[in-house]
Structures are given as structure tokens and as C-alpha cells.
Amino acid sequence: MMLSVARQPGTPSTPTATIGDELRSLVGESAVTPQATADGIPTFWVAPGDVRRVLAWLKTQVVQPYRMLYDLTAIDERMRTHPQDAPASDFTIVYHLLSFDRNEYIRIKTPLKEERATIDTVSNLWPAANWYEREVWDMFGIRFDGHPHLERLLMPRTWSGHPLRKDHPARATEMGPFQLPDAKQDAEQEALRFKPEEWGMKSGRDGQDFLFLNVGPQHPGTHGVLRVILQLDGEEIVDAVPDIGFHHRGAEKMGERQSWHTYIPYTDRVDYLGGVMNNMAYLMAVEKLAGIQVPPRAQVIRVMLAELFRIISHLVWYGTFAQDLGQLSPVFYTFNDRERAFGIIEAICGARMHPNWFRIGGVAQDLPKGWDGLIRDFLKYLPPRLAEYDKEVMQNWIFKGRTQGVGTFTKDEAIEWGVTGPGLRACGFAWDFRKTQPYSGYEHFEFDIPTGTHGDCYDRGLVRVEEMRQSLRIIEQCVDNMPEGPYKSLDARACPPLKDRTMHDIETLITHFLGVSWGPVIPPGEALGAIEATKGNNGYYLVSDGSTTSYRTRIRTPSFAHMQMLPLLARGRMIPDLLAILGAMDFVLADVDR
């Protein structure tokens, strides 16, 4: 495992031509159709009947296996206008797998017909597939045979229709006026009645009733609208079932309405502590589709702001984690520090939490005068503060007692459940996408990957604390080596395009006008843009049908995978441990529900 980490960035990964050949030898020459994609991820169509076998083989039998189910989603293909070199399909299921040995993704697609939208589950192959398949059922109405608990995940149980189908309305105005007659209200109320069996729980054991406790959706320890149903025996947690979807805002559906450009502010609000970091993942996918090169200065500005937001996000985590464990003061200190960082963000971007600052092909504006002074001040300011918090929080013996050995998972479990980011590194696995799959010029920066050893809540904390120091290092290198040059690509589709030449020739003026009024047209194709976000791997899988909007916008978020793991970590622990586990997970509800 460590081999691939140690490999220098830039060296070509394991030859991939063979994986297609191997697949063919497994299921037959005609049963595998390769597809060319803009992101270069090996993509193969296989028949629905073969999917389970192919995936099982990819996970366990192939040399250098694809051990992580990175993402599982679907595409409603029925409105496609642009022909694609692929089998005819009404609904396509898309599996993204990740191999750490190869340092490579693979994309397996399978076509389904509308009249028989059913496929075998892979939840017995990867436990992580459980929620992903439920989400696909919820959003597309595709059934998964053999799934243990195929219920709606994000939408209310009483919802009719499947929102990400193309024929489902995207706006309230398309749905007719809302009415709530008594009968409907009663039905809605009845649907809210809690029945343990509906959540896959038992109501008692040996004639004794369990105590069921709703933690949330309104609770100070859940950091937002999350409901965790606890099945308690005394204070011991027998089972914990997260109920998510309260923060679901249809971010993926909105992607199908907004132009490529106007969707950027929506991404800001997915991991709402990550700010421009979200823009980066989305834009990387768009730029791959369009083949737009980002100039060096824009790349460094992006890295600098992204790392600043990593610090901002981790500071929020630091304070609230301590507060979850009853320590009242650190949250005020870290929020103070965060305000200072926001001051810089505001000076550069003009906004604070959701700056919406990156653009297709670069950033919105050049850096303002005096930006380097602001950042250098912050670089001097933060390290002593971090040292102080180490003493106050990380070295506090009560804090250690509350977090060490709590919520432990191993590296293998982490990979099974799709854990990325600090959670994965806390298990001792030095996997950081900034190092292993450098993007936006991360290969030019010197920084270390902090890792833990025990995979418990405390180590996850240690990793994040050290990551802030590493981010400071990166930011310092950005300030010292900020290249000159344009802050945005000269490509006409960079949005909004640079205005220099618009007043000189009519062609540029027209392109500019179209780019601003309709938005750029992105060539048909598909691409995944994945980054090491604040909480783990955040990926945007975009499908373009050659128009001014995305045909399908899939947001793969780290918090979704991490939250799914909660029952595993909470079982057998006590209520206070649940808070430690949730705190150490560092999730954002908008990042879970989108």
C-alpha cells in the first residue's frame, strides 16, 4: 500500500490498457464496451447481469485490486440529444472504484431499460454500497435486488416520484400549488410515527423494551439537522441509525438547470465550511470536459485559497469538537482565528463563507494590492495559537480519556466503507489526493502527510491539527512563489471571458456576449474532478450533452460515506462517545445530504 504513496508524482501509473483486456477475458469479448472519457478514467460498459461478477472480480481477484467503492450513482439517459458511443440505455448505473495500489479509478457502467429498472445489489460486496443504492432508488426509482433495506434515504418517505428523473419537476412552480387536506396531513403525521422495525431495529430483547432516543434533528451535538436514532440499553448504545435528508436541497438537480457558470455558487454551499474548495472540484471537472488550461498564477491562487479554507474548516472542527466534549472555551478561540482568516478571504474575494470565487479557467479577479501582507501576518499569527490549543485540548488528560480508543476503525474497514481524508490517514495510511493524484499544481509544493496510528477519535484530531500546520506551509510557499501572469484562461469559454479584446473585434464581442448571456457550451462527454477537500475526497462527476447546462451533475461527498459508518462506530459505546465520534468525524450536513 505504501508503495503507491511513496511514488513520485508525475510518474505514469500502472499500465491500464490491460484492465480492459482482463475484463474481456472474464466476461467475454462482446460483453465489454470501452468508452472514451474526458478525464482519462478507464470506463467500461458491461451488461447488467455481469455487473456483480465484474465488480467482485475487480475488488478481490484482479492484481492490484480496486478496493474502494468510491461512488455509485445513476444517470437518466432518456433525454439525451447527443449520441454517444455506448449501448442504448434509459438509466445507466455508474460505479466508480478506486485502487490504491494502482492509484487509479475505474468506471463501470451498465445500461438499464425503463420498464425493467432493476439490478443486483452490491451492498453485500461493499457495506458502503447500502446508502448509495438507497439514494439511487430514492432519486431514480431503480430497484436493487437483494438489498437489505431499500427505503428512501434523502426524500421523505411519503414523497411520490423520483426527483432526479428527467420527468420530475425541478421547481415548486412546476408542481402546482401546495395543498394539505386533513387526510394528507393525517397520512403525513402517521408516516412520522416511529416504528423501530422500519429502521431495521428491534423493539426489545428478552422481554425488556429498549429505550429509543432521538438525537436530533434539533440537538446541540449534531451540528445541524441530523437525526440519529439511538437504541439504548441504559446508556449503552445497542444500535444507532442516522436519519439523513433534512438538509437535502437538490443540489444535483439544480445542476441540470443552471449554466456551467452559474452553478458555481451552489457548490460553495455543499461543504459550507470548505468555501472555494468546492468550486475547485467542480471546475476541475468542467475544465477537463472543455479542455481548458488554467494559467499558473490562477492555479497558485486556487491552491492558496483552498488551503486557507482547509484551515478555516479545521478551526471550526477543532472548537466544536472540544465543545462536544464539554470544553467551552476553545470554540471561541478558534472562531476568533477563523474570523481573521475570513478577513483575508474577504479582502481577496469580497465575501466570507461562500465567496464563489473560482471561475471556469481561473479565478474571478486578480489578487488585490497588499494581499501578501495580510497572509504573512496570518502565517505568523496562527502557529503560536495552535501550540496553545495543543496544550489546552489535545494534551488535556480528560480530553484524551474521552477520545482515545473511542470510535476506532482499521485501515481495511475505512477502505470498505469509503472513508477518505483525515479519517483514513488516522489509521496510518498516508493517502492524500494532493500527493497521490496532484491537481492544480500541488506537485510543486512541499508538505507532509500527517498520519495517525490507532484510527480513533483522538488520532483523527491529531491528523487535522497537523494538517493545519502543513496548510500553512503550503500557503507560505504560495506567497513566496506567486507567479506572474493572467489570473484566468484566455480560452473564450472561460467564464466570464476576459474583456480586453471585446471592444476590438466583433467576433470576440459576440463570443463574450454569448458566454455571458447563455453561458459557455461545454463539449459532450463526461469527467470526474476529485480533490482532497477539507473532510475527505470530494468529487464532481459531470456529464455534458453539449449544451449550456450540465446533463447530470453528481456530487460525491466525503461526509456521506463517513456518516454511513456511524452505526459501526457507535455500537456498544455510550451516549457521550457518540458525541466524540460525531465530533471527530467532522461532517457537514449539507455535505451529507447535498
Binding site: L328, S329, I398, R402, P576, D577, L578
Partner: protein, 316 residues
């Protein structure tokens, strides 16, 4: 010095204790704010001093709400219990020479008895609220009481051995030469820790634990019933600080200043210490609290008692 009339003592102690604990709300909020890089209440009156008054007006005029699922009589009685037991304890507290409501010869035992009764308030409130969070808070309070009450009593026995009496006034008098914090340092530390648990303050605020149990036992309380828990908590802190001053720091003893001032200084120092604890420490898990109580504090209290007893015997 003339001894004040008992009624005057009662009224005096009552007024001072209640207004001190109300004032303490302001002190805590300002001190916490100071330590947490923020302002705290500073708008109502000079330095925000009248904030407490404003809160009082608000809390008295709020709707007196009893949830329909609550056990009504118990729900009403519970907050009264904590006020009554804490205020009763103040009766045996010798503030200054002659200023004591009732100079019981078993004053210390009376105090321990009252503080044990006080826990009923929390347990009953948790039970009567008909809320699962409150119930868990109440259960935690019961578990916590069992764990710390034993070593709390034992930690004081060293003082009793040295002074040869349960009479608090006599204990203060016996410290004229040397405060018991020196010969009984271990007992002092143990009692301090037990006192934090008794007052249900961080790191032992498990029955309340707002991050876990929302507000624990008083989730369902509002208006002045909540206010009684609130004031009861501050009265409790004041009481524990006073007891530490009386038992270990020589009560009113001290040079130059009048006895009453000495007493108040000592009490105030410990009040600030309690607030500082809240500003700095995280909360323990309740099994950790129990094992700390039974496996560390309890044996230490026994050792303290044995050693003190041996020394007292040897000196005879």
C-alpha cells in the same frame, strides 16, 4: 462582640446568600467572557450589573408551563427541594464570630445530610419531566451521587479527627494556629473534587451535559422553576466554597482584616476557581467519573483517614 438576634441572622444569611448567588451569575458570565476573549453581558446598567435583575424580571413573568406528560406534583416539588436543602445548609455555616443561624454540634453531619438530600431534586426532576433526556440526566445524577458522596464524607473525617468535633464553629476556632489545608492537604483536594461533583459543575456536569443531553434533568423546566435550579446551582457553589473556607482555610481567621471580610475573600477565591474550571476543562464520561470516584478517590480518602487517625493517636 454581641451576638445578633437569631431572626436577624436568618434574614441576613438568606438575603446575602441569595443576592450573592444572583450576583454570581453576572460574575460567572463576565469571567467566562474574559477568559474566552469576548465581552459578556455589559449593556444593562454599569458593567452589565443589572443584567441579573433584567433576567429575574423576565424569568418571573414567564408562563409557568408544566408539560402535559409530566408527573405534576413531583415536577413542581423538585426545584423547591434543591433550594430548601442548600439554604438549610447555610443555617449551620459560621460566617464570622457569632454570625451563625444555628450553631449545631453536629453541623458537619447536617451539611452532609442536606447535600445528599439535594440530589433528590435532580433525580426527581429528571423522572417527573417525562422526557428521555431528563431521565438520563436524573439517572446520571443518581450514579454520580453514589460515587462521590462516600469519599466526600470520608475526606472530611480527617478534619473531624484533628478538631475532635463536628461543630463547624469549633472547627474554625481550632484552626486559629494552623489552617487544616496544610495537615489535611489530601483531604482538601479530595473534598474540592467532591465539591465540584456535588455542585454538578464541569468537568462533572454530567446530569446537565448540554452537548449530550441538551439540558438533562431541567430540559423541560422554564420560568422560575428553571430559575430555582439555576439559583440553586449557584447557591450550591457558594455553599461548597464556604465549606472549603470553613473546614480547610480557617473560616474567618486571618490577620488585619475583619473576620467577615476574610471569610468573603476566601469564598470568592473559590468561586472564581469553580468558574475557571468551567472555562478550561472538558467533561468526563460518567463511567470515568465512577471509576475515578471508587478506584482513586475512595481509597485515597481511606488512606487519609488512616494516616490522620494514626498521627492523632500517636500524639496522645
Amino acid at each position: 462582640m454581641t451576638t445578633p438576634h437569631p431572626i436577624a441572622s436568618i434574614v441576613g444569611v438568606l438575603i446575602v446568600a441569595l443576592s450573592l448567588s444572583a450576583f454570581l451569575i453576572w460574575v460567572e458570565r463576565r469571567l467566562l467572557a474574559l477568559w474566552q476573549d469576548r465581552y459578556g453581558p455589559n449593556r444593562v446598567g454599569p458593567f452589565g450589573l443589572l443584567q441579573v435583575l433584567a433576567d429575574m424580571i423576565k424569568i418571573f413573568t414567564k408562563e409557568d408551563w408544566i408539560p402535559p406528560f409530566a408527573d405534576k406534583p413531583v415536577f413542581v416539588i423538585a426545584p423547591a427541594i434543591i433550594m430548601v436543602t442548600v439554604l438549610m445548609s447555610f443555617a449551620v455555616l459560621p460566617v464570622a464570630p457569632g454570625i451563625v443561624v444555628s450553631d449545631l454540634n453536629i453541623g458537619l453531619l447536617f451539611f452532609l445530610g442536606m447535600s445528599s438530600l439535594g440530589v433528590y431534586s435532580i433525580v426527581l426532576a429528571g423522572w417527573a419531566s417525562g422526557n428521555k433526556y431528563s431521565l438520563l440526566g436524573g439517572l446520571r445524577a443518581a450514579a454520580q451521587m453514589i460515587s462521590y458522596e462516600v469519599f466526600m464524607g470520608l475526606s472530611l473525617m480527617g478534619v473531624v479527627l484533628l478538631a475532635g468535633t463536628f461543630d463547624l464553629t469549633a472547627i474554625v476556632e481550632a484552626q486559629r494556629g494552623l489552617w487544616y489545608v496544610i495537615p489535611q492537604f489530601l483531604g482538601f483536594v479530595l473534598f474540592l473534587i467532591a465539591g465540584v461533583a456535588e455542585a454538578r459543575r464541569l468537568p462533572f456536569d454530567l446530569p446537565e451535559a448540554e452537548a449530550e443531553l441538551v439540558a438533562g434533568f431541567h430540559s423541560e423546566y422554564s420560568g422560575m422553576k428553571f430559575g430555582m435550579f439555576f439559583v440553586g446551582e449557584y447557591l450550591g457553589i457558594t455553599l461548597i466554597s464556604s465549606m472549603i473556607a470553613v473546614l480547610f482555610l480557617g473560616g474567618w481567621n486571618g490577620p488585619w482584616l475583619p473576620p467577615l471580610v476574610w471569610f468573603l475573600i476566601k469564598v470568592f477565591a473559590f468561586l472564581c476557581f469553580f468558574i475557571l474550571l468551567r472555562a478550561s476543562l472538558p467533561r468526563m464520561r460518567f463511567d470515568q467519573l465512577m471509576s475515578l470516584g471508587w478506584k482513586v478517590m475512595f481509597p485515597l480518602a481511606l488512606v487519609n483517614l488512616l494516616v490522620t487517625g494514626a498521627i492523632v493517636l500517636a500524639k496522645r
